[in-house]
């Protein structure tokens, strides 16, 4: 397979870095609004998630 050419960070889905994943899941993809129950467009998610992420990193690493 051609994809092997660039194998540097080719990872199975469960090992993809969360931060790279969230870049795409929170800023990419088809955004649907309208008659649905909920879409992320209803929530300032990037802001929220970033806060959650930073908070969790803070917890992990303590004060720095």
């Amino acid at each position: 397979m051609r994809r092997d050419v660039v194998a540097e960070e080719r990872l199975p889905p469960e090992r993809v870095a969360l931060v790279d994943l969230l870049d795409r899941l929170l800023a990419g993809g088809v955004v649907l609004t309208g008659d649905l129950v909920l879409s992320i467009a209803d929530i300032d998610l990037v802001h929220i998630s970033l806060r959650a992420l930073i908070a969790s990193v803070d917890e992990l690493e303590g004060s720095w």
Binding site: R3, V6, V30, V31, D35, V37, I40
Partner: protein
């Protein structure tokens, strides 16, 4: 219901229009019950088996209007707006949900052209999803056409400082003055040097992005990742995403490889489902 729903209802009015694939028995979960919603992962053209989705629920397909939606049933007590606001603050929940969503999208995208849907998109029931496919058929088909035979690659560039200490020549030229002055001068020179290096690095990132985008079918820059999130102290100069024709993967990778070194470190991720290139606002 919208005009499309009532106007051309024949598509799925008999319940025949949307075939439901996979391990799905008749009746149960067809239209999500009271307190349940239909979570939408992705839209493609073929029904394929997919792994379990968010909250461990089995993923099924809704086929309508030549399109196939990948969905699962979710409890609204967790995927309603209010609970979700709280849960999104919960890092473990967010990580778990993002990974489950990704696993479904990634599995399908590895086998067929796929338009991923943004994380957490929940409909009242399957019929609403079928209605969406009908109303936005052309948009989805156009989107799928755009990403056919192409995959997304991520390219991140970091500024790596070769040496944090002052350069010898700067110390040498500062010798003339008194120690305090020399120190200040040295410091100023060092700051100026660093600022200049930063500006050059940013220009280089612009250059790299333009060059990669030229080989790709499309390219865009995500916001640079916070060092606290990326786990890397080195400043991120570029957080690019590129939609590349599969036949040009090798060419693209070779090009990426030419840009590393000399104070810039490059990391490539992927291939990804075309998350960054299926941004479509649909109502």
């Amino acid at each position: 219901m919208t005009d499309a729903g009532s106007g051309s209802g024949e598509g799925f009015a008999e319940g025949e229009g949307f075939a439901v694939g996979g391990n799905f028995a008749e009746g149960e979960g067809f239209a999500a019950g009271e307190g349940e919603g239909t979570y939408l992962y992705a839209v493609a053209r073929d029904p394929l088996p997919a792994p379990a989705g968010v909250a461990g629920a089995p993923v099924r397909t809704i086929a309508h209007a030549g399109l196939v939606a990948y969905v699962s049933t979710v409890p609204l007590e967790r995927f309603g707006e209010e609970p979700l606001r709280r849960l999104l603050e919960d890092m473990d929940w967010l990580a778990e949900t993002a990974r489950a969503h990704h696993l479904v999208v990634d599995t399908v995208a590895a086998l067929t052209t796929t338009a991923p849907v943004r994380l957490v998109t929940v409909y009242a029931d399957d019929a609403q999803v079928a209605d969406l496919l009908e109303r936005r058929e052309n948009d989805f088909l156009r989107l799928l056409e755009h990403v056919t035979g192409r995959r997304e690659w991520g390219v991140k560039a970091y500024a790596v400082q070769p040496a944090e200490q002052e350069h010898p020549q700067q110390s040498a030229e500062a010798h003339a003055g008194r120690p305090g002055t020399a120190y200040l001068q040295r410091r100023r020179t060092s700051l100026r040097g660093r600022e200049q290096a930063r500006r050059q690095a940013l220009q280089r990132a612009d250059h790299i992005h333009r060059a990669l985008a030229a080989v790709a079918a499309a390219g865009l820059r995500h916001r640079a990742q916070d060092p606290r999130l990326s786990g890397r102290d080195a400043p991120m100069l570029l957080n690019g995403a590129y939609l590349v024709d599969q036949e040009r993967d090798a060419e693209f990778a070779d090009l990426v490889a030419t840009f590393g070194g000399d104070g810039v470190e490059l990391r490539m991720t992927g291939p990804w489902a075309p998350y960054s290139f299926t941004v479509m606002e649909a109502t």
